[in-house]
């Protein structure tokens, strides 16, 4: 209970920075942000790929239930799809704040340029979003039909959300699940394409040696699965009383996260070691910024310490047999992957493309060092907290964890 209360407190408090941040964003545009023309993408872009990774990751894990029929993960199936929707919305909200002209977002649909990986990504995740919403509605449909008979506004909300569906028999549920299986099956390659596409968005840029690697889209996918799985575990533990109710499932999830984490580390180290041996100046410049630059702690403490060593130390030892420690390890993974995302975006741009470029003019927008401004942190924490609120609301108002009993309510 206390965990839930803390969850709500953090979520509601974050509405304050979100309001201030949005007000400043709408009145002053990008003036208060600390990124510039040398490091054009900052905290928000890192946050965007963090959230979009969580979305792809939890959706792909939900396919264990809905495509491959793994029964023991059933309790988190609907939660996973819901988290995929929420984190996708947060990611889109963040990147919407980041573009220069908020009012022109529709142009990406009206005037797409399909030689751009960004255009592909936008169209793929629009398709993915529609698929997620339809799949989620199908997963909730029978419960909505059942909830129609609830008194007051809950029943009214259910009547509206049910969109006229009335069948609440077990056969109709089975029919729903068949449709869900089709959608989820289509969703798997879609999620792989769009999140691989986010990695490709960075990877295709020959101008940035730190990103320009065929491993990039693959690393994005594996990190998405690891961080998404970790978030699912934490959410299940917090909201479903997972460490008591679904003890074995939490332990199994922990093992999956461990495997994905180690696979991710393997890819990351391969990428770093190959680049280090090749010693291409542009690559080395970015790598040394990440490892030994002014923000070395994001790599060593955030990414390696919190994101890798602590969770592995828990999950790969007897501690990994205690659901509470597994939850802790997964929380560490989620936090540590913020560092992973920051270390992809910032060092890749902080290395000068032309020697002396940042010294050529004395201007705060022409600097290689970047640290997010208070304004950027306000939006970041605000949107993060908004996510907690949305997940909390979903858990309170939607039967994410268990089906409503059909017989008693329908009577």
């Amino acid at each position: 209970m206390t965990l839930k209360r803390a969850f709500w407190a953090v979520g509601l408090l974050s509405l304050i920075p979100l309001t201030i941040g949005l007000y400043l964003r709408l009145t002053t545009g990008h003036q208060l942000a600390n990124y510039g023309s040398i490091v054009p993408w900052g905290l928000w872009v890192a946050q965007y790929i963090f959230f979009i990774g969580l979305s792809a990751g939890s959706f792909l894990l939900s396919s264990l239930v809905y495509v491959f029929g793994v029964k023991r993960f059933e309790p988190i199936g609907r939660l996973a799809v819901f988290i995929a929707i929420v984190s996708l919305l947060l990611a889109l909200f963040t990147i919407w704040m980041d573009i220069g002209h908020l009012e022109r977002f529709w142009e990406v649909f009206a005037y797409p340029n399909f030689t751009s990986p960004m255009a592909w990504m936008i169209w793929l995740y629009t398709t993915y979003f529609i698929l997620l919403v339809v799949e989620f509605w199908l997963l909730m449909r029978r419960d909505l039909v059942v909830a129609r008979s609830l008194p007051g506004w809950r029943g009214l909300a259910a009547r509206i959300a049910a969109l006229g569906a009335r069948a609440d028999s077990d056969e109709s549920l089975a029919a729903d699940m068949r449709k869900v299986k089709v959608l989820a099956t289509i969703g798997v390659p879609l999620a792989i394409m769009f999140h691989g596409g986010v990695g490709a968005l960075f990877g295709v840029l020959a101008s940035r040696p730190y990103w320009h690697s065929g491993l990039f889209p693959i690393i994005f996918l594996v990190s998405a699965l690891a961080s998404g799985g970790a978030l699912l575990t934490v959410t299940s533990a917090v909201f479903q009383e997972g460490w008591r109710e679904h003890r074995q499932m939490i332990l199994d999830l922990g093992r999956i996260v461990l495997g994905l984490l180690l696979l991710d580390a393997l890819f990351q180290f391969s990428e770093i070691l190959v680049g280090l041996y090749g010693s291409q100046p542009g690559y080395l410049a970015s790598l040394s910024l990440a490892l030994a630059g002014p923000y070395w702690y994001v790599f060593w403490i955030g990414q390696i310490g919190i994101g890798l060593l602590i969770p592995v130390a828990i999950l790969a030892t007897p501690l990994g047999r205690d659901p509470r420690f597994v939850t802790l390890a997964c929380a560490a993974v989620v936090v540590g992957f913020v560092g992973v995302r920051l270390n992809i975006v910032i060092p890749g741009m902080s290395a000068e493309e032309i020697t002396g470029l940042s010294r050529a003019v004395d201007d705060p927008r022409f600097r290689t060092d970047y640290f997010p401004s208070a304004f950027e942190w306000l939006i970041t924490f605000g949107i993060g907290g908004l996510g907690l609120i949305l997940i909390g609301l979903g858990e309170v108002f939607l039967p994410l964890s268990s089906h409503l009993p059909a017989s008693t309510q329908a009577a």
């Binding site: 545009g29 023309s37 142009e107 005037y111 960004m118 002396g356 470029l357």
Partner: protein, 256 residues
């Protein structure tokens, strides 16, 4: 009888569909060919590093010509000390946009707001289309693009009084209207071209940096014209281009 009619109707529809697709492709290409002006020029620069004294007059001239705000630079001068030379005789390099023949910034734009002009190869930005995602800044290997954050010089006239002649659009600067929130870059001062797309050095309709350079280090002209200054210099002297290994084929050369 019915079956035959049905199948022939289906065949007809199928053929009609294929025909329509083929026709639309042909029409699309024809419209493209008719509306895309043929290449008339290949504007480029040849910059003589031996003549550059690093005075940065080009940077100032560019700022005055294009009325760029703080943080937006269409050209900068880098200073690279020679090995062992210290501050003695460093190599100065003025660096405008290179207007690459294969510009990596163009294909990545999600809305096609930045493109290479087919008539003269100048890489431009449609301020009314650009959403300000800054992917092109990430894709440019030369740091030639700036984001307009909406900052203004303190001592310059009130923001509403600044009018930039860029793209012959004469936009009045306002706190939120384009080009604030857009990516901006060097245009080779294309607003100084006449209606036919020609520059005139004698009349002063010439890129501001090249016009101003006191050491005559910046040469501008048509790289496709073998008689132009720039073509002649490239024949006579040793020139390099930056990061040729990326296959961008820049239109700006440096003489050593």
């Amino acid at each position: 009888m019915d079956l035959i009619q049905l199948s022939s109707r289906r065949d007809f529809l199928k053929h009609a569909a294929v025909g329509a697709v083929a026709a639309s492709v042909v029409v699309h290409e024809a419209v493209d060919a008719a509306t895309t002006p043929a290449r008339k020029h290949h504007w480029g620069m040849v910059i003589d590093t031996k003549r550059c004294v690093g005075c940065e007059a080009c940077v100032i001239a560019c700022k005055l010509e294009n009325k760029t705000p703080p943080g937006v630079f269409y050209t900068v001068v880098t200073r690279e000390p020679l090995p062992g030379g210290g501050n003695d005789r460093p190599v100065f390099m003025t660096k405008p946009c290179f207007h690459c023949e294969e510009p990596p910034c163009v294909p990545v734009c999600p809305v096609g707001a930045t493109y290479k002009r087919s008539s003269d190869g100048i890489v431009v930005i449609d301020y009314d289309r650009c959403i300000g995602c800054r992917y092109c800044i990430a894709a440019c290997p030369y740091g030639a693009r700036s984001f307009d954050f909406g900052d203004d010089y303190e001592l310059s006239p009130a923001a509403g009084d600044t009018v930039s002649p860029e793209y012959k659009q004469y936009r009045v600067r306002t706190p939120e209207g384009s080009p604030v929130g857009n990516v901006r870059k060097c245009t080779f001062c294309l607003h100084l071209q006449d209606e036919k797309g020609e520059y005139d050095k004698e009349a002063g309709r010439w890129p501001a940096c090249a016009k101003t350079c006191p050491g005559h280090a910046i040469h501008f002209g048509d790289l496709a014209d073998p008689e132009s200054d720039v073509s002649r210099l490239l024949k006579e002297r040793n020139a390099v281009r930056l990061k040729e290994e990326l296959g961008t084929d820049p239109s700006v050369y440096y003489l050593l």
